[in-house]
């Protein structure tokens, strides 16, 4: 049951289509992440939900209410900004109480609710501090507490972690996710960080050039990407150009014949292969697609070795070799046997 939904949402600026016919339904308590490269329309979509941008067409509804034509201050969406946007002239407690005052919460109730919100983000004892006296991570938590205190119908997070340093980001990610689950908050987050999206979301919406490319869980997006863009954007894939010759038969532009289950529509197509699905050496034995490959480049990444190999002059692949004890690092020019199963490759038709 959709608690919060966007239907046929569209935003145009002159000839430029920023958001094109976006349809999203979010269940109560769900954590949805809008993911995509910069300029894909994810932030515009979030700002339309918050009420800062009027959509060109389409509807937005929260709970029972159509909020499309409501101003931001009547939408009851808690919004956390990338830059936190705390009120610099107010203390932490005043910042958190702001939303309670505007919503006419009785004065006697405000104090306890401010304390409760600060306790949730583990900032007890900071009530009297000013935002400038806090670290970036603490400011971020105040911004979160401020949005939570007013008990929003929907929590909106606009790249909330991108101003934190890498280590803190990992902690705060989990904190926000735990808090969201504990409070059962319907949440929409915007991010361009794939890993962040994957760790936090219940479901993800992948956007590109104003359009939704796919909506699904992490597993669905990774294992059954709907198109080449998603296959490329979520995780890593090697792409080999070619064409589908017959059902289950793909021929690379280098002339290799590949057995592939998802090849169905005859015509020009692209084969996508996840690097970790490609087996090497003795592990490749018995697999239907087995080729000799020459190492082009190998990068040492700690836990993994990233290896680019060439099957021939046209076809290149990406492999990942776990860094196990006794591993001999492949050298450029070395030839190895690689192989993959029939269902490892995904074929996307052109256009």
């Amino acid at each position: 049951m959709a608690w919060f939904s966007i239907s046929h949402l569209r935003k145009t600026y002159g000839d430029f289509i920023a958001v094109d016919d976006v349809d999203i339904a979010v269940a109560k308590g769900e954590f949805l992440v809008l993911l995509g490269p910069s300029g894909c329309g994810k932030t515009t979509t979030l700002r339309m939900i918050a009420g800062f941008i009027a959509p060109s067409s389409g509807r937005i509804s929260i709970g029972e209410n159509d909020v499309t034509d409501l101003p931001p201050w009547k939408r009851h969406c808690g919004l956390v900004f990338q830059s936190y946007a705390l009120f610099p002239h107010m203390t932490v407690a005043q910042n958190v109480a702001f939303g309670l005052e505007t919503h006419k919460v009785p004065e006697a109730e405000r104090g306890p609710r401010v304390m409760e919100a600060l306790r949730l983000v583990r900032l007890e004892g900071f009530e009297k501090r000013y935002p400038r006296e806090l670290s970036g991570g603490q400011q971020q938590r105040v911004a979160l507490a401020r949005a939570l205190a007013m008990e929003p119908q929907v929590l909106l997070l606009d790249e909330p972690l991108s101003n934190l340093d890498a280590k803190l980001r990992l902690e705060v990610r989990i904190e926000i996710r735990e808090l969201q689950q504990k409070l059962g908050l319907t949440t929409v987050m915007v991010t361009h960080d794939q890993e962040e999206a994957l760790t936090m979301a219940d479901r993800l919406v992948v956007m590109e050039r104003g359009k939704v490319r796919q909506i699904g869980t992490q597993r669905e997006l990774y294992e059954r990407p709907a198109n080449r863009f998603v296959a490329d954007f979520i995780g890593r894939s090697a792409f080999i150009g070619g064409k589908v010759m017959a059902l289950g038969q793909f021929q690379t532009s280098g002339g290799l014949s590949v057995a592939c289950r998802s090849a169905s529509v005859v015509g020009p197509a692209t084969l996508a292969l996840r690097p970790e699905r490609v087996a090497i050496g003795s592990e490749a034995e018995g697999l239907p697609n087995r080729f000799q490959a020459k190492v082009v480049h190998a990068s040492y990444l700690g836990a993994l070795l990233d290896v680019q190999v060439a099957l021939n002059a046209h076809d290149r692949l990406l492999l990942q070799i776990p860094n196990r004890a006794g591993l001999s690092e492949p050298r450029p020019g070395e030839v190895m046997t690689i192989g993959w199963a029939e269902d490892a490759g995904l074929v996307f038709g052109e256009g």
């Binding site: 800062f52 101003p71 201050w73 919004l79 900004f81 946007a85 009120f87 939303g99």
Partner: protein, 290 residues
């Protein structure tokens, strides 16, 4: 606010940096404090008609000012005009400054230039222009009477309203530019945060924008208030001889009456009134906004 000297660059000659502030300091000291000290000394002298200025150490010039209703009236009128002009500049200037600060238009620079443009026209030239426009036979009255909208020419020139309009027009750009630079420093998303937290625009303005813009509001009002208190050309040309304010009064004592001691005393009264009123307003506003 504390001023901190810039951090010395490695290998830099900090002495030189220190020396660089000397010319400006010296200039101000020589050209402002020196003459002021002399002026203050003059204000304690006696004026004897025919003898010009006689050395003395009396406060009779100050007593004369504060016991003569005419002069007191001039001071009160000047303060009233300045307060009205400053408030009008603030009320009209804030929305304009806000739009200028927040606009995404590519014509923003042109808009800013349009605000500054009036300053290219000197006060006297501008006031002279208004005389031709608003005089009893000026363009405005001629048009209105020609259209049959009025029978008698509107009395605009040589009234308090003429002076008010004139000073507001001169001071408005200063207010707008000061406010604009401060509002630009307030992130837009702080306003948006207030909206998303349930504040409607008036509440957002009162709770967020106004307190954050307060330093600019104070700077702008102080600037326009000082300019209005000391206005000279506008009250002389638009107010006429009967509408006296402090600036022309000082000039009159020096240039027409040759009464330097009294002129000096009026100068100090004007200066003190400006400083005291400015500081009081500043103090009250800052305490209120705590």
């Amino acid at each position: 606010m504390s001023t901190i000297a810039p951090e010395a660059v490695a290998g830099g000659r900090t002495r030189l940096a220190g020396l660089l502030v000397v010319p400006a300091t010296l200039f101000v000291a020589l050209m402002l404090i020196g003459p002021l000290a002399i002026l203050f000394r003059y204000s304690l002298n006696k004026f004897v008609p025919g003898q010009f200025m006689v050395d003395a150490l009396v406060i009779e010039n100050y007593i004369k000012f504060f016991t003569d209703g005419y002069y007191l009236n001039v001071l009160i009128r000047t303060v009233r005009v300045s307060v009205i002009c400053t408030l009008a500049c603030l009320v009209m200037g804030f929305p304009l400054a806000y739009v200028l600060a927040r606009t995404q238009s590519r014509f923003k620079n042109l808009l800013v230039i349009a605000v500054v443009l009036p300053l290219f026209v000197g006060n006297a030239v501008r006031a002279a222009g208004w005389m031709t426009a608003f005089g009893s036979r000026g363009a405005l009255n001629a048009s209105l009477m020609g259209l049959g909208l009025i029978d008698q020419p509107l009395e605009i020139m040589y009234t308090e309203n003429a002076v008010l309009i004139g000073i507001i027009a001169v001071n408005l750009p200063f207010m707008v530019l000061t406010l604009q630079s401060v509002i630009e420093g307030i992130p837009r998303n702080v306003e948006e945060a207030a909206f998303s937290l349930g504040a409607n625009p008036p509440v957002m303005f009162r709770r967020v924008l106004w307190p954050l813009a307060l330093p600019g509001i104070l700077a702008g009002t102080i600037l326009t208030f000082i300019l209005a208190m000391n206005a000279y050309a506008t009250p002389v040309l638009l107010g006429g001889p009967k509408f006296q304010t402090m600036g022309p009064l000082v000039y009159g004592q020096f240039a027409q009456q040759n009464n330097w001691p009294f002129g000096a005393a009026i100068s100090f009264i004007l200066m003190t009134a400006t400083i005291v009123l400015t500081m009081t307003a500043n103090f009250i506003v800052r305490r209120r906004s705590r």
